[in-house]
Symmetry: C2
Subunit: 680 residues, 2 copies
């Protein structure tokens, strides 16, 4: 398998100048320093370097060589790949820049063509290389981090470089690192798949700016996240969030919101800064999992303990007081002046034994513990570190440390690292990381929603009609698709309108029908609460006048529905992930509060229920202040059916059902707007 040759090569050709100080030479030096020996320098002069033999072509190497690291000029890369192919190289790391990132798309197409011809898989071009600590393999100019359980996959070499440098400085163990640059061949999908089964990797940290694979990316991510935590930074949020749409749903489902939904549906954990990613990986790889959200803070000084407690509550942990049994245990060995609250303040007199015994006494009652030490130069922090580490070894309850300030506790931090107790720069960052893990552990089981390739197995159809779909037509179409619509009548004349109103039964609502009027209320095209024939005749005339010069086709008549909670259901299409479905309360709730639940469609029943419950306005649906609760079962059923429509009708661009009248029993659509995919 090519990817095995990439991470576990038998021999590596470094192609490019091996003169001292050049990148090729530097790479050889760093690879040797990392402990990898089977290196061969390849360059026109057949120049070796640092005891590594030189050749003028990869084909000349007599020993097994299955991987090449290419740093020769861009114009030479196709020939180098030809050579590699002929020499049996299976995988290449193309560090050389000067391809699509500077507009040289043709060059990139060419290297892809050559590589494909020979079955050579590669990362790059314009990449920062890779690391496999288990194989002592470091074909990269980035810092060599210590070995450990975190795999870092980064589209951006610089972000990867920061993570590896911090890993070295702050002690985060790395299993594999790969920066795939332009991603002309292998990309995040390949690496997610590979890392899913990689025994060295306990946690995956992924940095992406885009995921060109769409649903294929989702499948790879979900599979990986089912096996181990995947922490994702998706950068370019704000820029990518801006695009023009016609529907309400379209504007709610900005590209970044869809990424958010997609990542969550896959069970990945999204963070927004490198520090967050780093902290979260640290706690995932070191500490046992959290059962719940109860955290106790053991400190030797009040202020920083309170700050950590504040932040813990802010990020959703429970800083509850210890129960009476635990307090009794604490009273056995703690002096009277230590408050038995939470944080538990051992004061400046806190000792190794004090930390150890206190942490252990708390371990049964809490889901996580923080050992906080604010050091002064006159304090034996190392003893406190020993106390915390000893406690951590004797319990399954996760313990993390925040020993600071860094300058004063450097020796203790090294000690904590050696014994595998994750240490954080501040108590606040420690509890934030714990909260991230708690959220991960307690997330609702992720479903196959939105990921399955062929959700709809029936025959695909086209939306009825052509051009803009009028309201009566759209309502009829919804009804065909089992979405509850109210009874309605279309009327082209005043007489038909009166007849229609009588058939529906007063009171009714009358709305204009015209392909040229999108916002019916805004032009006076909706009249509500018509009680009799006379009012119906009036309404018809007024609406006709309002539509003056606007291709007036008639009116549609509905029964007046009272005491409903209005909600919004929407469909739109994301360029990356395809159909997405939205649910919210509409009106101010979506416009001002952006209180919308979004998913890559389709959704299954459980996920539909979750969507309904996750909006902040959910209490309004349950019934507050004596109001009756709404029929949430019917709503979930409709959401599921609605989310499948784009798979039956691939020409759906966007659909707004806004409002939908949600009743104490059942629901009906109040208005509908359908935009065909080629309308946009």
């Amino acid at each position: 398998m090519s990817i095995e040759s990439l991470f576990y090569p038998k021999g590596v050709a470094v192609v490019g100048s091996a003169s001292e100080g050049k990148i090729g030479w530097e790479l050889i030096r760093k690879m040797l320093a990392g402990g990898y020996q089977n290196i061969f320098a390849v360059n026109p002069k057949a120049q070796g370097a640092l005891d590594v033999p030189g050749y003028d072509a990869v084909t000349k190497i007599e020993q097994p060589v299955d991987m090449a690291v290419i740093v020769s000029p861009p114009s030479t890369v196709p020939n180098v790949l030809e050579d590699c192919g002929r020499a049996g190289v299976r995988a290449a790391v193309i560090i050389t820049a000067g391809f699509s990132e500077v507009g040289n798309d043709a060059g990139e197409v060419e290297i892809r063509r050559v590589a494909e011809k020979h079955g050579v898989r590669f990362i790059g071009p314009n990449c920062a290389g890779l690391i496999n600590t288990a194989h002592h393999l470091y074909p990269t100019l980035e810092t060599h981090p210590p070995a450990g359980g975190v795999a870092v996959v980064a589209q951006s070499g610089a972000v990867g470089g920061v993570v590896t440098a911090w890993a070295q400085e702050f002690g985060l163990g790395i299993s594999k690192f790969v920066s795939y640059g332009n991603g002309a061949d292998m990309n995040e999908i390949d690496f997610l798949r590979y890392l899913t089964g990689d025994a060295e990797t306990k946690v995956v940290a992924l940095y992406i700016e885009s995921a060109s694979g769409g649903r294929e990316f989702m499948r790879a991510l979900r599979e990986c996240a089912a096996h181990k935590p995947v922490v994702v930074i998706k950068a370019g949020r704000t820029q990518s969030g801006r695009r023009a749409t016609l529907s309400h749903t379209g504007s709610l489902a900005g590209a970044d919101a869809v990424y958010d939904a997609a990542l969550r549906q896959c069970g990945a954990i999204r963070v927004h800064t490198i520090e967050e990613m780093f902290d979260l990986c640290k706690v995932f790889v070191h500490a046992p999992r959290l059962r719940g959200r109860r955290v106790a803070i053991v400190t030797n000084s009040g202020g920083p303990g309170v700050l950590a407690a504040d932040w813990a509550e802010e990020v959703g942990l429970d800083v509850v007081e210890p129960g009476p049994a635990t307090k009794e245990k604490l009273a056995e060995f703690l002096p009277a002046h230590c408050a038995f609250k939470n944080p538990i303040d051992l004061t400046v007199e806190g000792t190794e034994e004090g930390y150890r015994k206190t942490l252990l006494a708390l371990a049964d009652e809490y889901d996580a513990l923080l050992a906080l030490n604010i050091a002064t130069p006159y304090l034996d922090s190392l003893a406190l570190a020993r106390g915390a580490c000893d406690a951590a070894e004797q319990t399954d309850t996760p313990i993390v440390a925040a020993f600071l300030p860094h300058q004063i506790v450097a020796a203790s931090v090294d000690y904590l690292q050696e014994r595998g107790l994750p240490n954080f720069a501040t108590g606040e960052r420690a509890v934030a990381a714990l909260a991230g893990v708690a959220a991960y552990e307690q997330k609702p089981g992720f479903s196959v929603s939105g990921v399955t390739k062929t959700w709809f197995l029936g025959e695909q159809e086209r939306l009825p009609g052509e051009g803009q779909m009028l309201e009566p037509e759209a309502m009829a179409w919804l009804r065909e698709n089992d979405i509850p619509t109210p009874e309605f009548r279309f009327a082209a004349t005043q007489a038909e309108a009166v007849q229609g109103c009588r058939e529906i039964g007063y009171p009714v609502v009358i709305k204009v029908v015209s392909p040229e009027i999108l916002h019916k209320s805004d032009v006076g095209g909706v009249i509500v609460g018509i009680e009799d024939d006379r009012a119906a005749q009036d309404a018809f005339v007024r609406i006709q006048q309002a539509a003056e010069g606007k291709d007036f086709q008639g009116v549609v008549i509905y029964p007046l529905i009272r005491d409903a909670q209005e909600v919004l259901l929407g469909l739109s299409r994301d360029p990356q992930f395809g159909p997405v479905v939205a649910f919210g309360l509409g009106g101010i709730y979506t416009e001002v509060w952006r209180d919308v639940a979004l998913r890559v469609a389709p959704v299954k029943r459980a996920e539909a229920e979750q969507m309904i419950r996750e909006i902040k306005s959910f209490p309004l649906l349950e019934g507050v202040r004596g109001q009756a609760g709404r029929d949430l079962g019917a709503l979930a059923d409709v959401l599921v059916k609605f989310s499948q429509l784009p798979f039956r009708y691939p020409d759906i661009g966007e659909v707004d059902l806004n409002p939908v009248f949600l009743l104490t029993e059942g629901l009906v659509v109040g208005d509908v707007r359908v935009i065909r995919q080629n309308d946009t």
Copy 2:
């Protein structure tokens, strides 16, 4: 002035054992190392230390001594203070612990008494001491930070210690540091007042867990913030936020929300972590002020640039593209492959000159610039640092740096520090700090609202009546105080009710009047939309039945008000700050969204307007989707008057006006609930 003796003493007595290794000895050693010479050791053995002479009493010192640092055992402190008083000492730093923090309140009262008798002002007990870098004065065990413009005032010694240690490690210049521990005498109020006029101090960093002075604290803080930025951490947020209240407003105005309002009204900047405080001080003390929110990011690698841009937008900065004129300037010297977007990516080939020229070309168009450098060991970061510093010297536009990863760029970071360009651990933290400064610069001019001591100059009165105030009584009281109430009638019998309805004019609303019914709607005590005498009779009977066994006194009749926007006005009383006033939309907007504007009362007109505009639901008041806008002028007038009520009626505990019907012209109170202060 005593506080001058504290910060600029002529001579300092260190009282406590001066044997090697003891705290007294250590303090003398550190003070000498800091460069202060006029030290005298005082202890029973008259033992000197490190060339400092020893005495057995402060009174024996023959040279001028106006300050004492006390580390002798707690029981000796009163006598030591006696001695200090007699020797003409004006100020003391009582580091000794063992007072109120461990329940020894009597000991603390005693030292306060002795000090007061002699006019000796002190910080402590149980404090970490102080620093005045301008006077080379370091009577503290904390790290010695470099000199500079940031004053740190911390109730918690440990928090102060972290800040001074970080200041030393990451290069933040400190003017004064004071940790006042138990605050038995001097506290944050004294230091805010002192630092207001302190020429060495450009920025104040304040850490408090409580502000016992209430409005006096507000006055000191506002005065200081009017002269220089004050960055505040108020810890103990979540714990203190929990207290029982009777009214709706009371539950909205939790202690922490009131602190938030009070700090904002004083013009202080609240942050929540030590890192935020540190970053914000760094940019306040170094960089010129921001005129607006437009920020450009100059980077040498894509990924971290995008991350910084994302975060900048997240925290409210505008990462706009350069205009055509700037792009033209950039094109003159930048290679074609550098994207002329924002971030401006100079790529790994970015040079000293490239950074300098690019930053300068952008300076006119932007309000702040970030020079981001993601270094590798093979990059001359120092040159880039020079480029950024040179640019910063040639423009008034603030420039900040984020050179990382720290390990690789240590030399450049030192260089940036020397030249006064603030550097941050990541681009994200840099832009967050810039956003904090931008928010500070653009805050609406703070008013005297809520701070003036004697707002209400008339005669104070008692609320009418006794015990629970019934609705008609409360409405009449509001009307007396010029708060618009609807016309209403009280009716004790069915016949009176019909008469009252006729006088008001149908349609009307009828509500139960009973001191035992607080939630009238919940028991069926409110009937809306009564159209005629018959319905009025029915309603009276139904309400009477609903109030069965509940001390039914009658009903109150109001005209039915249609098409109003319901809002909520509230008053409550904070234990720390006294009367507070709240405004929101009521109902779900306050209950689910907590969308409430809160202020320490009273508020002036400008602040009332700001309260109205700051709620997120404000668009509803302006009129969305063709609805008419509401009479915001009348609303602001009423808010001002309402906020003054607790000063005229000091027995007001809590008042809810909920709902208030806000109309397109004017407003009227829909319901009122008054709780006397001794009712609670």
